[in-house]
Each structure stands twice: as structure tokens, then as C-alpha cells.
């Protein structure tokens, strides 16, 4: 895709300016991957957390094992696994989706623990009061447990989002052209890695700082009227 581009490598400043547009295109891919991965992580993690609480021991133990396995093996190898093994079973996904799925799976293992902690922090008396008022299990989760768990889990979830953004460069190894993939490509073309890699590093640093600040504000804005946080 980069044939026809000329990079002006005369000084670091001109070089930066000439590659910036391409890197920013990569940034949008990075962010899309993080958002897609995080959406998967949030929903799958909740499913894991609820299955983990199942009264059927076969289900809860299997889920516990799957979560532990996902948590204790590298994202990169999981990604290779999905990328090379899924097609052998007839499932051919675009590289971007495979990447988002790998991110989502790995982080679902983390988020499920956050959900679990948040749900377990709600006192047992709350379940009993809900039972005494004859709420269904669904209603109890929806109206009583989850609203109390959310303010407790948002900070941890936010931290995982930030962590996930920083792991998106892994997707470049399966040909997804996000920021990092583009930066190394430019480096290969010009034999000048310092500027593109530093630029990408700085953008990540900026993203991290912005996200952390945003998270801090969100945490303050959350409705947590009356909920004991510890």
C-alpha cells in the first residue's frame, strides 16, 4: 500500500511530518481493534463470570479452567493459534477480526475476575432481601446486584482497556496494519527506525495518559450513592 510514497528523511522533523499521516491512519486501526477487542472482553468476561457461579459443578469448574488457561498463556501464541488453527477447521476470519478475538479472549479472562470480585463484594443480605421480596434471579442481577457491582468494577475495567490498547501492536504479526505494523514497514523501507518507532511510542504514551485522566474523571462522575465501596 505504500508504493509511491516518498519519505523525506533529511531531518527528523521533516521525516516525522511526512510519516505522520500514515501513522495516524494506523492509529485508527489500533483504536478500532482495541474497541472491538474490549467489547468482546466485556461480554465474554461477563458470561465467564456467570458460568463460573453456576450451581452445576461441571460448568463452573470447566469455566474456571478455561479462564485460568487463557490467563496463563501468552496473547501472541493465542493469536497464532487462532490465526493458523481456525482455518483448518473451516473458520476463516479476516486478520483484523482474528486479532480482535484474540485480544477479547485474553482480556475476557481478566474481566471475568473483575466481574466476579464485583458480584461477590455485594453482601449476601442483598440476595436474601431480593429473595424475600420475591424478585426473580434475573431481576435480582439486573436491579440489585449489577448496579451495586458496576461502580466497583469500572476502575479495574478501565485499566484493562488501557492495557489492551498497549497490546494491540501484537496484531501486526498477523498482517494487521495498525500503527506499529506501519511504523516497522516504514523503517524497513527507509532503514531509519528511530523516528517512526519513537513517534509510535509517544502516541501510546499520550493515549495512556489521556485514558488514565479520562478514567479518573469517569470514576468521579459515577453514581455511587450510598454504595459502600470497600
Amino acid at each position: 500500500m505504500m508504493y509511491g510514497y516518498e519519505w523525506d528523511t533529511t531531518t527528523w522533523l521533516t521525516y516525522t511530518i511526512s510519516i505522520l499521516p500514515i501513522i495516524l491512519i494506523g492509529l485508527t486501526v489500533t483504536l478500532k481493534a482495541a474497541v472491538a477487542g474490549f467489547a468482546i472482553a466485556l461480554s465474554l468476561g461477563l458470561a465467564f463470570a456467570l458460568l463460573r457461579r453456576s450451581r452445576v459443578t461441571a460448568i463452573s469448574w470447566t469455566t474456571a479452567f478455561v479462564v485460568e488457561f487463557l490467563r496463563d498463556t501468552p496473547l501472541l501464541v493465542q493469536l497464532f493459534f487462532l490465526y493458523y488453527v481456525l482455518p483448518e477447521f473451516g473458520i476463516v476470519l479476516p486478520a483484523f477480526l482474528t486479532g480482535a478475538l484474540a485480544l477479547g479472549l485474553q482480556y475476557a479472562a481478566y474481566t471475568s475476575e473483575v466481574y466476579r470480585g464485583g458480584i461477590e463484594a455485594v453482601q449476601r443480605g442483598q440476595w436474601e432481601a431480593a429473595t424475600a421480596l420475591n424478585l426473580t434471579r434475573m431481576q435480582t442481577y439486573r436491579d440489585i446486584i449489577i448496579p451495586q457491582a458496576v461502580p466497583r468494577i469500572v476502575p479495574a475495567m478501565g485499566n484493562y482497556l488501557v492495557a489492551m490498547i498497549k497490546e494491540t501492536p501484537v496484531l501486526s504479526v498477523v498482517t494487521v496494519l495498525e500503527m506499529m505494523g506501519l511504523a516497522t514497514m516504514i523503517g524497513e523501507r527507509t532503514f531509519e527506525y528511530l523516528v517512526p518507532l519513537t513517534l509510535v511510542g509517544l502516541i501510546f504514551l499520550l493515549l495512556t495518559l489521556i485514558c488514565s485522566a479520562g478514567l479518573h474523571r469517569l470514576q468521579k462522575a459515577l453514581p455511587k450513592a450510598g454504595i459502600p465501596m470497600r
Partner: protein, 221 residues
């Protein structure tokens, strides 16, 4: 091809992975304590330097750091062999996270302990090394355990700077045999096993650190 045929080569890779992981944990722990203590005790200038270290290494993605030190630094005349680069970058990365753990644990030591130390006229260094740190280390252990597993997992990224670790071996075998399913399954199980071993090792370290720790803890009356 029978998957057991891959095992010798994977074993070699696993040894490299273990070596890099353990070395990075050792160096990373040293960095974590050094910068973590600086954050709390360093005074304005030193603690700002420590803050920059943690923010940069936590904020810029290990992937970028590895490539930066591998490809970019040699261009300005600094270069190490790949293994050393891998270990140092991984150590600096997890050291950044570790420094935050150390800082958090140190600042959660109860003020009464510090007042007691002052009342006994301990010097600042005596207070730090005899009172604060021994108590804080116990608090750090669970988080350090997680960080150790994280280090093992992240070590797979060094395969991308052509170090022949477990992931790299798996990739090479796959490129030869195209037998993806068994190769990657075995590799995942290898990593999982190493994680479990590392977890147990960290539990042993934790028990060692906790010896003589008689403070009541949650869950213990």
C-alpha cells in the same frame, strides 16, 4: 507427523524462555525496588525521575520498546546482542509495573509504625529498611506473583526480535510442517505448565517472606 517429534526443539525453546523470564524477573525486581523506593523517599528531583521511568515504561507498550531498542538504538551506535536486549527491555518494562507495586505498598505502611520508629530515634534509612520495607514486602507479594506470570507471557514477544524462545521454535516448526493445530496446542500447554510452576515458586517465595509475619490478615481471626 507425530507431535512428540517436536518436543526436543520445543524444549530448547522453553529453556530459553525460562532463562529470559527468570533473568527479567531478577533484574526487574531490582529496578522495581530501586525506582519504587525513589518514588516514596527520593525527594522532588529523584522521585520525578522515577515517575518518568514508570510512566514511560508502563505507557509505551512493550512491543514498541522491544523494537525501539532492537532496531532504533543501534542506529545511534548503541547495541547489545538480542538476548541481552530482550532481557533488559522486558526487565525495564515489568520493573515499571513493579515500581508502582513497591510504591503502593510502601505508602500503605501505617503512619503509627513510622511514628513509633521516629519515637525510637531510628534514622530515615533504618526506618525504611528495618520497619517499612519488611512490612511492605509482605503486601507486595500477591501482586508480584501476578507480575511474574505476566513476565513469562510477555517474554513470548522476544521471538519477534529473532530470539529462539518457545514461541519462536513453535513458529519455525510450523513453517516447516504446517501442522498448526498440534504445534500451537502443545506450545500453549507448555506455557500453561511453566505458569503453574512459576506460580508455585512465587508461593514458596511468599511463604518465605511471610515467615515471622504475625499480623492478623483478612480471613484469619
Amino acid at each position: 507427523m507425530d507431535w512428540t517429534a517436536y518436543l526436543p526443539m520445543l524444549w530448547k525453546g522453553a529453556v530459553v524462555t525460562m532463562t529470559i523470564t527468570l533473568a527479567a524477573i531478577a533484574v526487574g525486581a531490582a529496578l522495581a525496588f530501586f525506582f519504587g523506593i525513589l518514588r516514596v523517599e527520593g525527594g522532588a528531583i529523584l522521585s520525578t525521575i522515577a515517575l518518568c521511568y514508570t510512566e514511560v515504561f508502563r505507557g509505551t507498550s512493550l512491543f514498541v520498546q522491544l523494537f525501539w531498542f532492537y532496531y532504533a538504538l543501534p542506529l545511534v551506535g548503541i547495541s547489545f546482542d538480542p538476548i541481552t536486549t530482550g532481557i533488559l527491555v522486558l526487565a525495564a518494562h515489568v520493573g515499571g509495573y513493579g515500581a508502582e507495586i513497591v510504591r503502593g505498598a510502601l505508602s500503605s505502611v501505617s503512619p503509627q509504625q513510622l511514628e513509633a520508629a521516629r519515637a525510637l530515634n531510628f534514622s530515615r534509612y533504618q526506618t525504611l529498611f528495618r520497619i517499612s520495607l519488611p512490612q511492605a514486602v509482605v503486601e507486595m507479594m500477591p501482586a508480584f506473583g501476578n507480575l511474574a506470570i505476566e513476565t513469562l507471557k510477555l517474554s513470548s514477544l522476544v521471538s519477534l526480535i529473532s530470539i529462539a524462545d518457545l514461541t519462536f521454535s513453535a513458529q519455525s516448526i510450523r513453517n516447516l510442517t504446517l501442522d498448526s493445530t498440534s504445534i500451537y496446542s502443545v506450545t500453549l500447554v507448555c506455557y500453561f505448565t511453566m505458569s503453574l510452576v512459576l506460580m508455585m515458586a512465587m508461593k514458596v517465595v511468599e511463604r518465605f517472606v511471610r515467615r515471622g509475619d504475625v499480623m492478623p490478615r483478612p480471613g484469619q481471626s
